[in-house]
């Protein structure tokens, strides 16, 4: 457990030792602010004290840019530069390596996600009070976001551990998460089994419940299953080096 945390800590710090963390955090906030307040009238247009737009933009932004950027180097870069050999030949379990890296990356993503808590706090508590706020959907929304981030980072880690380079890893993660996100909207155009399947796996449809204030165990289990599955496959692919 201790080695796991050491690896996670190093991984998390590594983001801040390079410009990556700062760029990701600053730009996501800039983008989020722009979308939230300005895009098509944004928050003002709805004319209600709701944070629903936030829960629409944050996951989409995470899916499209933040997660692929954060996870692309996790394994791909280590393997390419050979540091993986250095790391694995220390007395660490393969599972510690995977989990450590996962937690490190998840830490950064959650930093971005939780920092967006500034919106509800600043707008409805202090210093501004724009009206009475229904805290239920906010809380459930953030639960959803955390679960969603957990799944997305696991997928990114998996792709990174299979890909040979950061660029490949970025694009595949970008594509996979993007596809999972919009598959719900695609399902609306279709009918029959395919529509059901697409709707079922869509991250977006899974998030709608959380946004409305509904924590559905099915959605929780869905995100957790994706996370566990992706982590297990990443672990296997790391173990595979021994036998290949």
């Amino acid at each position: 457990m201790n080695t796991l945390l050491t690896i996670a800590k190093r991984e998390f710090r590594a983001y801040f030792d390079s410009p990556l963390a700062y760029v990701v955090i600053c730009l996501s906030f800039f983008g989020l602010g722009l979308m939230f307040f300005m895009y098509q009238g944004g928050y003002w247009q709805i004319d209600r004290a709701t944070l629903q737009p936030l829960f629409e933009y944050v996951p989409a932004g995470l899916a499209v840019l933040v997660v692929p950027v954060v996870t692309m180097r996790l394994m791909a870069e280590e393997r390419r530069s050979g540091t993986l050999e250095m790391l694995i030949t220390l007395p660490v379990k393969d599972s510690d390596v995977i989990m450590g890296k996962y937690l490190g990356a998840l830490g950064l993503v959650l930093t971005v996600v939780l920092a967006s808590l500034a919106y509800p706090i600043l707008m409805f508590k202090f210093p501004w009070s724009l009206g009475p706020m229904d805290m239920g959907p906010v809380i459930s929304g953030y639960v959803g976001l955390v679960l969603y981030s957990a799944a997305a980072v696991a997928v990114g880690l998996l792709v990174s551990s299979l890909a040979d380079s950061q660029a490949v890893s970025f694009f595949i993660t970008f594509f996979v998460l993007g596809a999972f996100w919009i598959s719900g909207s695609m399902a609306d155009q279709l009918e029959g089994t395919w529509a059901n399947v697409l709707h079922y796996v869509s991250f977006q449809s899974r998030m709608t419940g959380f946004m409305r204030g509904l924590i559905d165990t099915r959605d929780v289990v869905f995100f957790l299953s994706i996370t566990v599955l992706a982590l297990v496959v990443s672990f296997r692919s790391l173990e595979r080096r021994k036998w290949a």
């Binding site: 201790n2 080695t3 050491t6 690896i7 190093r10 590594a14 030792d17 390079s18 530069s81 050979g82 540091t83 050999e85 250095m86 694995i88 030949t89 220390l90 007395p91 660490v92 379990k93 080096r241 021994k242 036998w243 290949a244």
Partner: protein, 371 residues
């Protein structure tokens, strides 16, 4: 097996797809030994070391470190080892001190133990001036030292060092070798390299591998005596002969030299001067200098230099691993160029600028194989 066997490999075989990287390698390293693990690129040195450090699993055979099987308890094996992989891959975005701290944390050293071993590492590896620098800003030599340092942090009894001196300049090489000698005083060290002068300097024993097999294993003296050929370097003017005679062509000169009784084979050495420089191998314990001189006189060629080398480890290495690389790379070099390695330059002044391109090419292909 006695209690003093620190590293034991028996019948290690490793396949990568259809390529057999190791073919039943067996050897033992005893406590306190500093052993040179020699072989051309792609011979299986790194693969063996990766198996010993549980990075790879052997296809068959067993490897034990301090009696612990790499299959049974990889973590315990790694705890007992200090390992420096090829090219010392470090996290370049970290500061040296942080990096060493990270390794210490992973190895479970507490703060006091870390401080103590950091002190000794700074001294042994000469890290004082770079401790607070980014690793990305370090020269390759310093990176190797940091790599060596991280391998020593937990004060392991066994060290596995994969080409610790590759890519270093001669001064850095000498330094790293000095550190290794220092470290090796009270530890068991398995050191892979293709630089023979290093082995002669730092190790008492060598294991030579070629094409995934052990071709020689024993004290240096024994290995040196094992294959017997004596080397002559003959330099002849290529522009003119003795008055009234013409200078020989290379082919002519080589043919004439090879006809001498006792000569085995010859090859041309590169040179900047307007001369033919030929390396001639003769049978063990032979002395052909008189014959060579007489040949020159008879032909009217101008002999500029003639040297007889006592049996060098270099030549032994070349003899034992002959043909290895040409086969492995699917390239057929002439018999005479295949085994040169860039690292033997500094001690063999005459051969100093041999086959740059080829060496670089071979490094790359070895890397691809490793990947």
């Amino acid at each position: 097996m006695t209690a003093d066997v620190m590293i034991q490999a028996s019948d290690l075989t490793k396949r990568f797809g259809s390529v057999r990287a190791l073919d039943k390698i067996s050897f033992e390293v005893e406590k306190g030994e500093v052993v040179g693990f020699l072989g051309p690129n792609g011979a299986g040195k790194s693969t063996t070391m990766r198996i010993l450090t549980c990075f790879l699993a052997p296809t068959s055979g067993t490897a034990k470190v301090r009696g612990i099987d790499v299959f049974d308890d990889p973590l315990e094996v790694r705890r007992n080892l200090g390992y420096l992989p090829q090219r010392a891959p470090l996290y370049t975005d970290m500061v040296v001190r942080d990096y060493l701290k990270f390794v210490a944390d992973v190895r479970g050293l507490d703060a006091a133990a870390f401080r103590k071993s950091l002190e000794s590492i700074i001294e042994v590896c000469g890290l004082a001036q770079v401790l607070d620098k980014d690793i990305s800003a370090l020269s390759h030599g310093f990176r190797q030292r940091v790599g060596l340092g991280q391998a020593l942090l937990h004060n392991p009894q066994i060290l596995v060092l994969d080409e610790p001196t590759a890519d270093l300049d001669p001064n850095e090489k000498a330094e790293v070798i000095r550190y290794i000698k220092e470290i090796g005083k009270d530890r068991t060290v398995l050191l892979s390299t293709h630089n023979l002068s290093e082995v002669e300097e730092a190790c008492a024993r060598a294991i030579i591998v070629s094409k995934g097999k052990v071709v020689a294993d024993g004290p240096l003296e024994e290995i040196r005596a094992k294959t017997g050929s004596v080397r002559y370097v003959v330099t002849v003017d290529e522009r003119q002969g003795q008055p009234g005679k013409s200078a020989p062509k290379v082919s002519e000169l080589r043919a004439a030299l090879e006809r001498i009784q006792g000569a085995v084979r010859s090859r041309e050495l590169p040179t900047d001067e307007k001369v033919h420089k030929i390396e001639l191998s003769g049978a063990k314990d032979s002395d052909l200098r008189a014959e060579i001189f007489q040949l020159m006189v008879a032909q009217g060629w101008l002999l500029l230099e003639l040297r007889r080398d006592a049996q060098s480890l270099d030549a032994v290495f070349r003899d034992l691993t002959r043909g290895d690389e040409a086969l492995d790379r699917g390239l057929v070099y002439g018999d005479d160029t295949a085994e040169e390695d860039d690292d033997q330059r500094d001690d063999e002044d005459e051969e100093s600028d041999e086959d740059e391109d080829e060496d670089e090419g071979s490094d790359e292909s070895a890397e691809k194989k490793d990947a």
